[in-house]
Every structure is written in structure tokens, then in C-alpha cells.
């Protein structure tokens, strides 16, 4: 009898691993091995025709830390994250509260909010290009109505990053809205009734009851938004190419440029490791702190 159980257990283990093997092989090939290989190549020098690659330890990292462009890009990415995350979450929340209340043309409103989500970022960038074109663009034409001068939104360092940020917010807010919308629909009706009986104003009800109940959703959206602030760079390829003067360059774009335009794999690798480190910290916070305090079903 004991032997039978043993055989059954062994059989389960074999089945388990057979079922897992496609995933395990692919994940190893395209996630785990590349992560280690990236680390490995980040501690070696760049191979040139004259000099073979050699072990340099932390040299690539110290190079980066001494590179003003790197700091410029990191700062840009922090501004990008710092602006896109709270603004798109705030707009998403407003959208959800509106889309959930009894307003006219609710179907149209919801569709309008969500549509940018299903467009490719490249297409979104193309659409926005016409808004930003100096002189001809929609923004300048609206400005001209009020007697404002023409502005080269994408071509000057002061506004380029913000122009990119606005496109990101436009693309993301509607996506985050649907999570809020779903969360709002789980809030029991009687809470609203109770608040009405108590004479609480709508604003009071929203602030004291709705917002706290939406906290887990907000945290979930924040983690997603944080990941996206590293990932979403497609529009840079159309709108600014990181310029002018690196004013709108973001870290992933810089990694791409370093590797595929400057052919400097070791420095690209060092940057990749730094990004993975930051994402790892985010993952750690999510799995240890947030998941204990929140409860998605």
C-alpha cells in the first residue's frame, strides 16, 4: 500500500515536470538566462576589432554614473513616472466615477475614454504628431485663436518631455479606468443609502467611503503604471527620438540606442541590470507588503 502511494507520488512529479517543461524551457531561454547573461556582459568591456572583451568589474557601471546623459535620462524617467502615474490615476478615477454615474450618453463617454487603450502607441503618436506640429498643428491653431504665438512643442527641450507625457496619459487613463469601474460596481448600494440617511454630501460619501474602498485597486494600478513607465516608449520613436538634446529620452530608449545604434552592449547591459534591480525592488514590495494588505479575490 505504501509502495503504491509512493509510485503515485512519483508519477505525479513526472507529469508535473512534463507539463511544465515547455514553459520552463521558454522562460529560461527568454527571461532567466538572458537576465544572467546581461549581468555577465555588464561586467566585461566592449569587444572591438583591436581589443577583445575583458573583465572590467564595475567599470561599466561607474562609466554610467559618470555619464551626464545617463543621469539626464534617469531624471527624465523619474519625471515621466512622477507625472504620468498620479495624473493618469487621477483622471482614471474621475472617468470611472463619471462613467459609473447616471449621465447622458454614458455609452459614448465610456467608449471615448477606453478607445485609446486599443490603439497601438505608434498610431497614437502619429495622431498626436498633428496636434504638436508647429504652425499647422491643432494646438497651435487653437492657440492662435487666442493670439498665442506658435510653439514647437516637440522641438524644444522645455516642452518635449511633457508632450510625450501627455500622450502616455491619454493612452493609459482609459485602461486604468476599467479597473476602477469594476471596483466601483462591487461597492454595495446600501452604503450609499446609509450615507444619504446620515445626510452626508456626495463629496463626503466619495471621500470617506468610496476612495478608501478603492485603495486596493489603486495599489494594483500603481504597480502596473510603474512597470509601464519603464516599458512605454514607442511614441518616442515617432515624436521626438529622445531629443532635442536628450530632453525627452527615457531609459529604455537609451538602452535601445546604446545597444542598437551605438553598438555598446556592455553599457546597455549595465543599464538593463539597473532597471531589473529597480523592478525587482518593486516586485519585492508588491509581493511582501501589498499582497498582504490587499485582497483581490
Amino acid at each position: 500500500m505504501a509502495k503504491h502511494v509512493d509510485i503515485e507520488r512519483r508519477r505525479q512529479a513526472i507529469y508535473g515536470w512534463i507539463l511544465l517543461s515547455p514553459a520552463a524551457i521558454l522562460l529560461t531561454t527568454f527571461a532567466f538566462y538572458p537576465s544572467l547573461a546581461t549581468f555577465w556582459s555588464s561586467i566585461f568591456s566592449r569587444e572591438t576589432r583591436r581589443k577583445p572583451s575583458e573583465f572590467v568589474g564595475a567599470q561599466n557601471y561607474t562609466d554610467l554614473f559618470a555619464d551626464p546623459t545617463f543621469w539626464k535620462v534617469v531624471t527624465n524617467n523619474l519625471i515621466y513616472a512622477g507625472a504620468t502615474i498620479p495624473i493618469s490615476i487621477a483622471i482614471a478615477l474621475a472617468m470611472a466615477l463619471w462613467a459609473n454615474s447616471k449621465i447622458p450618453a454614458r455609452g459614448f463617454v465610456r467608449t471615448a475614454y477606453f478607445t485609446p487603450t486599443v490603439l497601438p502607441m505608434i498610431a497614437a503618436a502619429n495622431l498626436w504628431l498633428f496636434f504638436y506640429t508647429p504652425g499647422l498643428g491643432v494646438l497651435d491653431q487653437i492657440g492662435a485663436l487666442f493670439g498665442l504665438p506658435s510653439v514647437n512643442w516637440l522641438g524644444q527641450p522645455e516642452t518635449a518631455l511633457w508632450a510625450v507625457i501627455i500622450v502616455t496619459i491619454w493612452k493609459e487613463a482609459g485602461f486604468f479606468m476599467i479597473f476602477y469601474l469594476a471596483a466601483l460596481q462591487t461597492i454595495p448600494e446600501d452604503l450609499k443609502e446609509a450615507a444619504d440617511i446620515e445626510g452626508a454630501s456626495r463629496w463626503m460619501y466619495t471621500r470617506r467611503i468610496v476612495l478608501p474602498l478603492l485603495m486596493p485597486t489603486t495599489l494594483f494600478i500603481m504597480v502596473n503604471a510603474l512597470i509601464n513607465s519603464v516599458k512605454l516608449i514607442d511614441h518616442l520613436f515617432i515624436l521626438t527620438k529622445g531629443g532635442p538634446n536628450d530632453a525627452s529620452k527615457l531609459i529604455l530608449y537609451y538602452i535601445w540606442e546604446m545597444a542598437f545604434a551605438f553598438f555598446d552592449a556592455p553599457h546597455a547591459a549595465a543599464m538593463t541590470i539597473l532597471v531589473l534591480f529597480v523592478l525587482g525592488v518593486v516586485a519585492g514590495i508588491k509581493f511582501t507588503i501589498l499582497d498582504k494588505r490587499t485582497h483581490y479575490q
Partner: protein, 269 residues
């Protein structure tokens, strides 16, 4: 007072909706008008299909469409197979080391394929998959997100059904195929919609791995077509943009509810 604030809110909601949809509406309008009419907002200007003709002739769009279609299909089939097997293993098979492997899988949620472009590019080249549709699709097939989703769906299947199928003499694969897969249909549908719209829209990785019109998806084709060096004008770019977003956009407008539900099901874990 209350009705007034309600009106203000409705107005705010509508205003935001109009602002949100306006880039798309403007591009739609520009695509059907001559450039000078488009930029001057000449509302009485005649409609034209010329921009579509020029855009269509400017690039092998049919090929790009086909490539994108093949790409999302290859990825989806790969994802269905890989995530079904792994999801089932994590949900219903007991074996030592399972929890550890599951944590490793979850880690991939944060090791974005987008960040590992350099090494993944080297890997795809090594495997001889550079400039192939399979090469573009492969890094996404073992999606940790999909595995997680399938695991959740399979966990919800009553164990009695599993036992019953077993008594009937079904093997592991039979149980998976006859009991679990059919019951997880809504999850498959949700996952498919999210996956298709993600990969239809993906850009950076295909840009790196493709090198020729024979493999390039729509997004990469569109970015090359829209490059300022090509000297194309607003109306023609709008037409090209409209053409490339049309299939997904129409699908979205028709199956709106399903799309939103899909993103929701997939997002709330």
C-alpha cells in the same frame, strides 16, 4: 443645487470624452480630406479617398497585415499550449518544487521582455530565428501572466468532475482536454482578446527582430512609413494610421463589452 452640480458633472464627463476622442476624430477627418483642407479645418471641404490610395501604394500594407495576423496567431497558439499545460500543473498536480517554480514564474512578471531586448536579440539570432515571425513571437509564449490566469481558472474547476472523469478511465491529458479546457473557455476568450490587442500593438521588439517587409508587422511598417524623412503629409499619414488601426478598432467597437470584460478578467487576479 444638486441638479446644478449634476449638470456640471455631466458636462465635465462629456467634455473629457470629447477631448479624449478628438485626436482620433481629427485623424479620421484628415484622412478623408486634402492636406490643406485638413490643416485649415475647412469643414465644407469635399471628402476624398486619395490619401488612402497614396498611402496604400506607399508600402506593402497587405504583407504587413498578413504578418501581424500571423504573428498574433502564432503567439496565441503558443501561449494557449504553454500556459494550459503549466497552469494545469500548478493548479492540479502535486509535486515537490512546485511552489518554488511558481515563484520563479511570477518573477517573470517583472523581468519584462522589453527590458531584455539586447540579450533576447542575441538569443533569437543564435537560434536562427532573426527576422522570422516565430522569432518575434517566441519570447512572449511562456507568459507568466497567462500561466497565472490559467492556474486560477483551473483551480476553480470542481474536483468531483476531475474524479468522475478519472473513474471513467480518462488519462491526465484526457481530463485536461475534456474537463478543464472546456470549463475555462471564458478565461481563454479573455486572455485571447488581451493577448491579441497587446501583440497587434507591440512595436519595440518587432522593430529589433524584423529586418525586411516579409516579416515586419503593421506597427513597424507604420513607423517607417510615418518617418519624416519620407516627406509624407498629414493626410496621408492619417490615412495609413486609420488603415492600420481599423481592424482592431472595428473589432473593439463591435465587441466593446467583451473587450472591457476581458481586460478586467485578465487584470483583476
Amino acid at each position: 443645487m444638486s441638479t446644478l452640480s449634476r449638470h456640471i458633472e455631466s458636462f465635465g464627463a462629456l467634455l473629457l470624452a470629447v477631448i479624449w476622442i478628438s485626436p482620433l476624430l481629427f485623424a479620421f477627418w484628415a484622412a478623408f480630406h486634402s492636406t490643406s483642407d485638413a490643416v485649415n479645418f475647412n469643414l465644407s471641404a469635399p471628402w476624398t479617398l486619395d490619401n488612402f490610395r497614396v498611402a496604400w501604394e506607399g508600402a506593402p500594407w497587405l504583407k504587413y497585415f498578413l504578418n501581424t495576423f500571423l504573428l498574433v496567431t502564432v503567439i496565441l497558439i503558443g501561449q494557449f499550449i504553454v500556459t494550459t499545460l503549466a497552469g494545469f500543473a500548478f493548479a492540479q498536480v502535486q509535486f515537490p518544487g512546485r511552489d518554488l517554480v511558481f515563484i520563479l514564474v511570477l518573477m517573470q512578471l517583472f523581468i519584462l521582455p522589453e527590458v531584455l531586448i539586447v540579450e533576447n536579440y542575441a538569443m533569437v539570432s543564435r537560434l536562427g530565428l532573426f527576422d522570422t515571425i516565430l522569432g518575434v513571437g517566441m519570447p512572449y509564449m511562456a507568459s507568466a501572466f497567462g500561466i497565472f490566469l490559467m492556474r486560477q481558472a483551473f483551480k476553480g474547476v470542481p474536483i468531483e468532475l476531475h474524479e468522475a472523469a478519472r473513474v471513467e478511465g480518462c488519462g491526465w491529458f484526457g481530463i485536461l482536454w475534456r474537463v478543464y479546457v472546456p470549463l475555462a473557455r471564458p478565461t481563454y476568450l479573455a486572455y485571447a482578446l488581451v493577448s491579441v490587442s497587446t501583440h497587434w500593438n507591440n512595436f519595440l521588439w518587432p522593430l529589433i527582430v524584423t529586418n525586411s517587409p516579409d516579416t515586419r508587422p503593421l506597427t513597424v511598417g507604420l513607423s517607417i512609413f510615418g518617418a519624416p524623412e519620407n516627406g509624407v503629409d498629414i493626410s496621408v499619414i492619417s490615412a495609413a494610421t486609420m488603415m492600420s488601426v481599423a481592424p482592431l478598432l472595428i473589432a473593439f467597437l463591435v465587441f466593446q463589452r467583451q473587450f472591457v470584460q476581458a481586460f478586467l478578467r485578465a487584470g483583476i487576479k
